[in-house]
């Protein structure tokens, strides 16, 4: 997706966080990265540090990028200036096909089109040279 001028107060994620780094690096490459147990395939969220004792039993993998709307809210003023151009902002809790629920926001969709259980797919929104945000659109 296209760049928009980024508000100077936009709350960007800390990319130096070693736990979350694979998630943000994946997003930059257009992949939605999740973590699972090697042996059982059980997917969990939020991710755990791989450098902990026993962390070797975990691995990151590229998820399907598909899921359904578990819940959503629609933000209106007063809101943070960094997001004002997006209002009304449809913030969504996506239940991924792999299991976990991820926070995101909707693009290409109005409030009237929103529904619980609606299928959604990930799209990637570039915020800066380093930060790309996974966001969601209807999977029509």
């Amino acid at each position: 997706m296209q760049d928009e001028p980024l508000h100077p107060d936009y709350p960007l994620p800390d990319l130096d966080d070693p736990i979350m780094r694979p998630f943000w690096e994946g997003a930059r490459e257009g992949k939605l990265m999740l973590q699972r147990e090697r042996a059982t395939g059980a997917v969990h969220w939020p991710p755990k540090p791989l450098y902990w004792k026993g962390g070797g039993r975990l691995e990151w993998f590229a998820a399907s990028g598909r899921g359904e709307v578990y819940s959503y809210v629609v933000g209106r003023e007063p809101f943070l200036p960094a997001f004002r151009h997006l209002l009304p902002l449809i913030m969504v809790l996506v239940q991924l096909d792999e299991g976990p629920r991820l926070v995101g926001y909707m693009v290409g969709c109005t409030q009237a089109e929103m529904a619980f259980g609606m299928r959604v797919r990930v799209v990637f929104k570039r915020l800066t040279d380093r930060v790309t945000l996974p966001v969601w659109e209807p999977d029509r």
Binding site: P8, D9, Y10, P11, L12, P13, D14, D17, M20, H44, W45, P46, Y70, S71, Y72, V73, V74, G75, R76, P78, F79, L80, A82, F83, L86, P88, L89, M91, L93, P100, R101, V103, G104, Y105, Q111, F116, V131, L133, V135
Partner: protein, 393 residues
């Protein structure tokens, strides 16, 4: 928890420690002074109410958010020396935990008289924590703030909206909570909304803040300073007021906890209160039916509907209908938020709910439940939280 041994260990605290003094400054939109200052005065009021002096205090417990220093408060109060102190995290999740930690310290002999307090200034729009969120978000907040999910109304709205979807909970049910709190506030001269009535049509017509939540679903924004004094039951018997005994208390994070957007804890996304309630009622010899009223944390109205379920006053999904027929109002089966709560008295991270619970045990509330022998106080759902059962002797 759950074993006979664990229940036995909890009896070291149960009914052995009491809240003996309460006090607060008038609630305001702009109190005009720093919290390190208002805290001192609130504690002085609570000590005077308890019939105690600063020299009697040897412990201090407070909320960690917007922190002040124990030592400077102790110095300004005239405390001779602190032997024990504590700060507790997670905003409104910490309210009842201050009393729990104080009770544990007193039961363990680490302190004899502890003052717990909450002072915060957030009446001004610029003072709201979420409005100051900017640049480089770390740790748990990076899981939601980069998508704009920052305002508490939106974080809680995710649970509220799913509850509406799963159980058919209606806006009118949330409205019943707002109106019950407001009616109680209208009879409480200390409440910020004391002279502002609210009816269902006004509630329903209010503007959207974060769909599905509207203006009157949201708590007030308040500058406030409140304190209570906790001591052993032996000492409490020599003091002027009927002691409010700490009967049961609990703190819980629930599984797989996240600071705010706690959406992956269980398959059905229960709030943290479910886990706190389980522990609380295991420790409590009194049960839901014994509660004369309940002070359920109300930063937003859906937290009360869900809290009634989480703390076992009704089944999962029945919280909405439970609000009907005036059940939550004085004279109903379970009056809630009898001072007006965060919705209509003052929003001070739920510390006012503790003070109101003490008044109910003393029999001095402006919305007194006749013969109230015990009452429940809860902390914020969603975040790591705490809860408290107080009883009379």
């Amino acid at each position: 928890m759950g074993t006979a041994l664990e229940r036995d260990l909890f009896r070291r605290i149960q009914d052995r420690v009491a809240i003996v003094g309460i006090g607060h400054l008038p609630f305001a939109k702009d109190i005009g002074r720093p919290i390190a200052d208002t805290a001192v005065e609130a504690i002085q009021l609570a000590l005077a109410d308890a019939g105690l002096a600063a020299e009697d205090v040897d412990g201090m417990c407070m909320l960690e958010m917007e922190a002040t220093h124990e030592v400077s408060i102790a110095r300004r109060l005239g405390v001779e020396g602190l032997r024990w102190w504590d700060k507790i995290s997670y905003g409104g999740g910490a309210s009842c935990a201050t009393v729990m930690h104080a009770a544990a310290a007193i039961a363990a002999g680490l302190a004899t008289t502890v003052v717990c307090h909450r002072a915060r200034n957030r009446g001004a729009r610029s003072a709201r924590p979420w409005s100051q969120e900017r640049v480089l978000v770390k740790d748990d907040k990076a899981l939601h703030t980069p998508w704009g999910l920052i305002r508490p109304v939106d974080v809680i709205g995710m649970w509220a909206h799913r509850h509406m979807h799963d159980y058919g909970t209606k806006r009118e049910h949330f409205g019943n909570v707002a109106i019950a709190a407001r009616r109680h506030a209208n009879r409480n001269p200390q409440a910020m909304m004391r002279d502002r009535p609210l009816d269902m049509q006004t509630y329903l017509d209010a503007k959207v803040v974060g769909f599905p939540l509207h203006l009157y679903d949201c708590c007030l924004e308040t500058d406030g300073a409140l304190a209570c004094v906790v001591t052993s039951v032996e000492r409490a018997r020599d003091l002027p007021h009927k002691p409010a005994l700490v009967h049961a208390v609990a703190q819980a994070s629930g599984p797989n906890p996240v600071h705010l957007a706690n959406y992956n804890n269980t398959p059905h996304m229960e709030t943290t209160s479910v886990f706190c309630a389980r522990l609380l009622w295991e420790r409590s010899e009194l049960k839901q039916k014994d509660m004369g009223c309940a002070q359920i944390y109300d930063a937003f109205t859906p937290l009360v509907v869900m809290g009634l379920e989480d703390y076992g006053f009704c089944k999962r999904g029945e919280g909405g209908p439970f609000t009907e027929g005036g059940r939550l109002e004085l004279g109903g089966a379970l009056p809630v938020l009898t001072s007006g709560g965060g919705l209509s008295e003052a929003y001070v991270h739920g510390f006012n709910l503790i003070l109101e619970a003490v008044r109910q045990i003393r029999g001095t509330s402006t919305n007194q439940v006749p013969g109230c022998k015990a009452t429940l106080v809860t902390g914020a759902s969603g975040v790591a939280t705490s809860a408290l059962v107080l009883r009379g002797e």
